[in-house]
Point group: C2
């Protein structure tokens, strides 16, 4: 049966997502991208899966280093999120205008204004579509403010999927 | 640096999820499970990733057939979702009490009360943790009621992650 492209789009956009700034670093080469295609995938070991645009600088760095960090945006941080929908610029201790510190395990940037973060070491890669699927183990994590409700992509009126 | 288990739990629970009934069928052998670890992972081809408990009947069927379906729960359908947190029982055209029809491409059960669905053919499997990670291509999809807002797991007070 032939798939109806419009039904496919609407059905896939029914998946719920947060919004995250996914970062990676290879020495001075830094990538930071707003992403939403992210899920946990195992408790033990703690695995996550993230899909990152194939042709992005961030994916290229992860392919070289085998590591990335995820910074979780709070519900009131859409302005910060939008700053990472463009190419990455580092000035001093700021990436795309926001202060970061290197992740203790991976060196990937951790954005100090964001409430939750975790670092990931890639164990498996699936490169079959227009995004690279990185499977990895969570090796470190931190909470800066556990009172913050994470952003829900649907609430922003934006979507990325379908 | 050693990871703090509590920080890891809180940080990973900051990921936002929906709630879905993931189904599979191998002839009369049917599996249907409430899952939340699901994300799209490519536009072209349209790929999704789902993580399904290793020791579940549903994962066993998917491993045999290479196919599954995802049924998206609406925000007011928590009672239906909870019916799929237990083992699968089929009686006539009902699975765990809810009416289904076989998916046109995969035969996996589509729950007629749920607003959105899509069928998936598995392309890659990563079996490294306590859940099997299935990567697959969306081969068919449908919308029964596009006015329904998909369920947000966080809103139920439940969580599965950390």
């Amino acid at each position: 049966m032939a798939m109806d492209p419009q039904q496919k789009k609407v059905a896939l956009r029914a998946i719920n997502y947060g919004l995250y700034v996914l970062t990676a670093a290879d020495g001075d080469d830094v990538g930071a991208a707003g992403v939403n295609w992210l899920t946990q995938a195992s408790f033990e070991p703690p695995l996550v899966v993230a899909a990152v645009k194939d042709d992005s600088g961030t994916a290229a760095i992860i392919n070289r280093t085998g590591a990335f960090a995820v910074n979780v945006l709070g519900e009131d941080q859409l302005d910060i999120g939008k700053a990472f929908f463009r190419s990455t610029t580092v000035e001093g201790d700021r990436v795309n205008g926001y202060r970061f510190e290197p992740g203790p395990d991976t060196g990937a940037p951790l954005l100090v204004d964001l409430p939750y973060w975790f670092e990931v070491r890639v164990t498996d890669t699936v490169a079959k579509g227009d995004h690279t699927i990185f499977v990895g183990e969570v090796v470190n994590a931190g909470v800066r403010d556990d009172s913050v409700t994470p952003m829900l992509l649907r609430s922003t009126g934006m979507n990325y999927g379908g």
